[in-house]
C-alpha cells in the first residue's frame, strides 16, 4: 500500500506529531510525505531526513501558507490518485483538513487511530476513551487521523528522501487567515514534553497557579498543563488544557496538582508512563490511576517539593 503522511509544521519547524504518524503509516506500506506551506523549504529538508520514508512532496505556495482546509483538501485529493491511504496527525490542523479530504474522495474517515491491526483494520477510542472500537474500512482509499501518543516516534534523522515539488491548487477564495494568537513559552510543548506538571481547580486563581505550579515545572524543565475546570475558571489559557476535549498527552511523568480526575481529564493523560497526584481529598478519582499519590494540602506540599528538588 502507498501511503501519504501530512506533515505537521509552521513553515519553519517540522512538528513532532509527524513522526508518530510516519510510524503508523509504515505499518501499512510505503510512506510518502506531503509538506504544504509557503516558504517551507526547511521543513521539506527536515522531512526528507526522517528514517524509512520514500518521497517528500512539497507544495510551496502562498495559497498553502496558513494550511486552510479549503485550499489544502483539493491538493491532497488530487495526490490520492497515486496513494492508497492518507494519514494526518490528529492535531487541530489535521482534524480540520482530513474530513474535508474524505468528503472529496467519498470515503469514511477513521479518526484518531490507536493501532493498526491490518491493512484496513484499526482501533480507535469512542465515548471519550471509555471504549475502544476495532473498525474495518471497505473504502477504496483510506483517510486516517493518528493519535500521536499511541505510536512510537519514527527516527527524525537517517533518511535521505527525494524532494519533489507538486503544484498547489489555487486559493479557493472562500476563506482567509486573519491572525493567530499563539502562546509563546520557554517551556516544552505539552504534546512532546517528557514531564508535565498540571494544575486543577484547587489552585483558586491565576496568580496562585503561577506561584505554585510554574516554579515546580521550571525546576523540572516540565511542560505545564491544566484541567478543564482550571481553564474554564480562567487560571490559564485554553491551550493548556489536557483532556478529551483538550490535548492528549503521554509524558514519562505526569504530575497532577489539585486535579480531582474527572473522566474527561483522565482521557487526556491516562497513557502517561508514571502519574503522580497531589490532592488533599483522599477519595479523589485521580488516585485510582496514579502510580504515586500524596494526600496533602498542595499549598504546603508543592512549594516544599519545589524547594527540595
Amino acid at each position: 500500500m502507498k501511503t501519504l503522511v501530512y506533515v505537521a509544521h509552521d513553515n519553519v519547524h517540522l512538528g513532532d506529531a509527524t513522526l508518530a504518524t510516519v510510524t503508523a503509516a509504515s505499518k501499512l506500506g510505503e510512506v510518502h510525505l506531503l509538506v504544504a506551506g509557503a516558504g517551507c523549504g526547511a521543513v521539506a529538508e527536515a522531512a526528507s531526513r526522517i528514517a524509512g520514508i520514500g518521497k517528500v512532496h512539497v507544495a510551496d505556495d502562498a495559497a498553502c501558507e496558513h494550511q486552510l482546509a479549503e485550499n489544502i483538501a483539493p491538493l491532497i485529493a488530487g495526490l490520492m490518485t497515486d496513494h492508497d491511504a492518507v494519514l494526518f496527525p490528529a492535531t487541530t490542523t489535521g482534524k480540520n483538513i482530513a474530513p474535508r479530504v474524505a468528503a472529496l474522495l467519498d470515503v469514511m474517515q477513521i479518526s484518531d487511530i490507536l493501532s493498526v491491526e491490518g491493512e484496513r483494520t484499526f482501533t480507535r477510542p469512542i465515548y471519550a476513551g471509555n471504549a475502544i472500537a476495532t473498525v474495518e474500512s471497505s473504502d477504496a482509499k483510506l483517510v486516517i487521523t493518528v493519535r500521536g501518543t499511541a505510536f512510537d516516534k519514527a527516527e527524525a534523522e537517517g533518511g535521505a528522501a527525494e524532494i519533489a515539488a507538486v503544484a498547489s491548487t489555487d486559493d479557493a477564495g472562500k476563506s482567509s487567515f486573519v491572525s493567530a494568537e499563539l502562546a509563546k513559552s520557554e517551556r516544552p510543548e505539552l504534546t512532546s514534553a517528557k514531564i508535565i506538571v498540571s494544575g486543577g481547580r484547587a489552585l483558586k486563581d491565576s496568580a496562585t497557579f503561577e506561584n505554585i505550579v510554574m516554579p515546580l515545572a521550571d525546576k523540572l524543565g516540565a511542560g505545564v498543563g491544566a484541567s478543564r475546570a482550571a481553564v474554564d475558571a480562567g487560571y490559564v489559557p485554553n491551550d493548556y488544557q489536557v483532556g478529551q476535549t483538550g490535548k492528549i498527552v503521554a509524558p514519562e511523568v505526569y504530575i497532577a496538582i489539585g486535579i480531582s480526575g474527572a473522566i474527561q481529564h483522565l482521557a487526556g493523560m491516562k497513557d502517561s508512563k508514571t502519574i503522580i497526584a497531589i490532592n488533599k481529598d483522599e477519595d479523589a478519582p485521580i488516585f485510582q490511576v496514579a502510580d504515586i499519590g500524596l494526600v496533602a494540602d498542595l499549598y504546603q506540599a508543592v512549594p516544599e517539593l519545589t524547594a527540595a528538588l
Partner: protein, 248 residues
Amino acid sequence: MKALVPVKRVIDYNVKPRVKADGSGVDLANVKMSMNPFDEIAVEEAVRLKEAGQIDEIVVVSIGPAKAQETLRAALAMGADSALLIETEEAIEPLAVAKMLKAVSGEVEPGLIILGKQAIDDDSNQTGQMLAGLMNLPQGTFASKVELEGDHVRVTREVDGGLETVRLSTPAIITTDLRLNEPRYASLPNIMKAKKKPLEIKTPADYGVDIAPRLKTLNVSEPPVRQAGVKVADVDELIARLKAMGVA
C-alpha cells in the same frame, strides 16, 4: 439570513458508558440520553445571533431514531423556530449524515450552518468538515468566537498553540468548541411553546442518500485499566521516589 443547526441525540455526558459483554457496542438500553453538548452550544450560538438581529430564522435538524424528536423539542425550547427529523433506527456514519445535511441545506438555504465539533459518542469530529467539502463551502472549525460582518463571518478557532482567526464568506460552516458560549436552560413557558412549533418527519430515502456503512465495527472493548499505585506519606518520600525514577 437563516441558520441551520444539526443536533444529535447521544448518551448523556454524565453517564459512564458500559461496554456490552459480547463486544458488539455500548449498552444504550435504559440509559439517559441528551442533546450532544457541542450541539447545544451550536443551538445557543444560533439563538444569540438571532437575538442580536443577525439571523432571521433557525432550523434544527436531527438524523436518528423517533426519540430524537425530544432532542429537537429541546432545541426548539432554547429558541429554534422549526425542526426536521430524518428518522432512521440505523447508526448513520458522518459521511452519510453530511450528504443528508447537504440535501437539507439545498431546501433551507442557510447562510450559516452551525454544528458541534464532534459527538461525544463516536468522537469522530468529521461531519462539519465533510459537509463543507461536499458543498464546497468555507469552514470555521472549533470556534470560540463567531462574529457576523455583512456577507462574511469572522471565526476565532481554538487551535493547538492557542487561537487562530479566519474570515469566511457566507454561506459558511461553523463547528463549535466548548468555550464559544454557555447554553441556556429552557424556561417552562418556552418548553410549552416549543411543543407547538413545527416538527417535520422524513426518512433518508426521501433524500436518496445511500446510508450503507463504510466502516464495520468488529469489536468494542473496555480500555485497559490502569491500576492504582502507592500512596506516599509525605513530600520526603515523594522526593525519594522521584529520585529513584531519575526525575529529580
